[in-house]
């Protein structure tokens, strides 16, 4: 039993954890970097201690300082959130050594699932299906690879061992074209990473990214809370998640859920975790990896199950038995999450920094916003661009989509660019509405230009707006010139005035 939790994180997830603690009557300790003195988690926590300068490695990644602060403040538990130290088995072990409860799995489970080869081997032993392919061992020659390819089957992927970002990756449709593609893949990998090693993996076509939420206690009980559909990604960053997935039926859900539970049991798992699968069009599914922590998108599972996952994490870490058995987990309605990022969807999703000068949150029935920012707060370049999660619930998937559209339309954030327009265009797309998408949809078959037709409907209004704003500004600058004064307003009128008169 512990009574004071140190939250070793920042942003919306730190706020989320503080809320759960407060609702359980547990005291909270925030830690913060110099850039985060005014952050919401500092304002909401009972105690707050400075970690160090803004860069993560000097602040939120300083495991030693965090354990010192836990000791100093009398915190007897640590919640790591996601990212930063959440999947570092050495940090979990260091907490245990210091006599501080780590609200998460055992260090051995984190380590087992953290090593890709070990995780794969472990779950294969437990009878869990994985994507067929050569193991990621490197140093295989072209002859080795050409020999093994037919047993994996075509189409397959050549992937760079040092890989990432699609560099050195080639799709192979037949054995004949494979030698040439191997050459070019190795060449690209060599130039990109200085390492020409490649391996093979079956190409799962039209694959969806499906993940199951696991909860396990220290008494041997493991249950799943259903799946989340996470196929909408860009550059391997999730953008939109749904619970449940439009691609699963009850039978498939039961079968995948059982495999997910088995995977967790294979590493003697405790607390909340997520099993990621690839699911193909023929309902074949393959274990990808396990995330041994609370997931960004956990709220959509909370919305459809009514279970507060963070409170349950704390219960389990306190040694209690899970509050729910598998049969208690019922799914009600549909939930969608849009990740609101400070990035410009009209400029290649470039991150955007600056002061938030104004903000209007969507509220009302079925809408939840988890955020760590507020008007007056500065978005700095040091951390993740995700500034809020907009989550809606509806009785059906269609109602949830309509509600999400309504909420996106209401949401105003002024001061930084956000990807809200991306989500708006996505929610209007027929492919999304039909639930017909896979992991390549956003990058290959989606464009902000899809909205052209829609746009014409309001172009006259847009023209009036631009003209009225320009007119007002011209008048304002004229007045100011008359007064023979200048001021440095947001309006950059000086620049405009100079352009006009030079």
């Amino acid at each position: 039993m512990f009574n004071k939790v140190l939250v070793a994180n920042r942003g919306e997830i730190a706020v989320r954890i503080i809320r759960a603690c407060r609702e359980l009557g547990i005291e909270t300790v925030a830690v913060y970097s110099e850039a985060d003195r005014q952050a919401l988690h500092v304002r909401y926590a009972d105690e707050a201690y400075l970690l160090g300068p803004a860069p993560s490695r000097e602040s939120y990644l300083r495991a030693d300082k965090i354990i010192d602060i836990a000791r100093k403040s009398g915190a007897d538990a640590v919640h790591p959130g996601y990212g930063f130290l959440a999947e570092r088995d050495d940090f979990a072990a260091a907490c245990a050594d210091a006599g501080i409860a780590f609200i998460g799995p055992k260090p051995s489970s984190i380590a087992a699932m953290g090593d890709k080869a070990e995780a794969r081997a472990t779950v294969i032993k437990a009878g869990v299906p994985v994507v067929p392919g050569t193991e990621d061992v490197g140093n295989m020659t072209n002859d080795d690879l050409l020999g093994i390819a037919p047993s994996i089957g075509f189409p397959l992927l050549i992937k760079a061992t040092a890989g990432g970002g699609g560099k050195g990756m080639r799709e192979v449709r037949s054995l004949e074209e494979m030698p040439t593609l191997l050459q070019s893949a190795r060449r690209e990998a060599e130039s990109a990473f200085g390492d020409g090693n490649v391996y093979l993996e079956k190409l799962v076509e039209g694959a969806r990214h499906i993940e199951f939420q696991i909860m396990a206690d220290t008494h041997g009980n493991v249950i799943h809370l259903g799946e989340r559909e996470c196929s909408l990604q860009r550059r391997h960053q999730k953008l939109v998640e749904e619970a449940l997935s439009p691609a699963l039926n009850d039978d498939l859900r039961r079968r995948m859920g059982e495999v997910a539970v088995k995977s967790a049991q294979a590493v003697d798992y405790v607390n909340a975790g997520t099993i990621e699968f690839l699911l193909d069009k023929d309902e074949n599914f393959y274990f990808l990896e396990m995330n041994t922590r609370l997931q960004v998108e956990h709220p959509i599972t909370e919305m459809v199950t009514g279970i507060d996952i963070v409170k349950e994490q704390i219960r389990v870490a306190r040694g209690r038995v899970l509050s729910y058995k598998q049969a208690d987990v019922q799914f009600n309605g549909h939930a969608i999450e849009c990740r609101i990022n400070a990035e410009d969807p009209y400029n290649n999703f470039m991150p955007s920094t600056g002061h938030i000068t104004h903000s209007l949150l969507p509220t009302g029935p079925g809408v939840r916003v988890d955020t760590g920012v507020y008007p007056g707060f500065e978005i700095t370049p040091f951390y993740d661009p995700m500034i809020a999660k907009l989550i809606v619930w509806g009785e059906t998937r269609a109602q949830a989509i309509l509600r999400m559209r309504r909420a996106l339309e209401e949401y105003r954030i002024v001061g930084v660019r956000t990807n809200i327009p991306f989500h708006q265009v996505l929610m209007d797309s027929h492919r999304f509405m039909g639930g017909q998408y896979d992991t390549r949809f956003v990058e290959e078959r989606f464009s902000m230009e899809d909205a052209e037709e829609y746009r014409e409907k309001y172009d006259e209004v847009a023209a009036i707006l631009a003209t009225l704003v320009a007119h007002r500004e011209t008048e304002r600058s004229a007045q100011i010139v008359n007064r023979n004064e200048r001021d440095a307003s947001n309006w950059k009128w000086v620049g405009r005035w100079e352009r006009m008169h030079r």
Partner: protein, 165 residues
């Protein structure tokens, strides 16, 4: 006051008649236009239809965000238009292009070198910010002149990175 307002090649002749009326291509509308909370957020009621928009200045245009769509718009009064017409019109696809850092960050890689010929859309520099790698691309064809930073260097927002002629 009359303006020529252009959305991606489509022109509108917009006249501001008085505080409550504008005409677009000769058609008169009743308008009620207010900024909200002193922000560049505008509420516009046109003949009863209620619209709300975020309007920001771009480098050489207005960016109107309306109902989840972005409209890049240029607004010129008659004098500006005459001047531009006299100058030959059109934005020249030449002259110096200076690549500045769009945000503070860390230079990860510079896949081009001084004197190299580059095509429009080619990656000039990779900048890491907010845990993301962002590719900064050439807006048009040209030759890289001077590279003022190197990989591994931290840069401030708006700092000049390199230029292309």
């Amino acid at each position: 006051m009359k303006y020529i307002t252009t959305i991606e090649g489509k022109q509108f002749l917009v006249e501001i008649i008085d505080d409550r009326h504008v005409s677009v291509d000769g058609k008169v509308y009743e308008v009620d236009f207010e900024s909200v909370s002193g922000q560049p957020v505008y509420s516009l009621i046109v003949d009863g239809k209620s619209h709300e928009s975020y309007v920001a200045r771009g480098d050489d245009n207005w960016q109107v965000l309306l109902r989840g769509r972005l409209y890049p718009i240029t607004v010129e009064d008659e004098r500006e238009r005459r001047l531009r017409a006299a100058a030959g019109g059109g934005v020249a696809e030449s002259g110096e292009f200076i690549l500045k850092a769009p945000m503070p960050g860390l230079v990860v890689a510079i896949p081009v070198s001084e004197g190299q010929e580059v095509k429009k859309g080619q990656v000039l520099l990779i900048l890491e910010s907010m845990k993301m790698q962002n590719e900064l691309k050439a807006p048009r064809d040209g030759i890289v002149q001077r590279i003022k930073v190197k990989a591994g260097e931290s840069v401030e927002q708006k700092q000049t990175l390199l230029n292309v002629m």
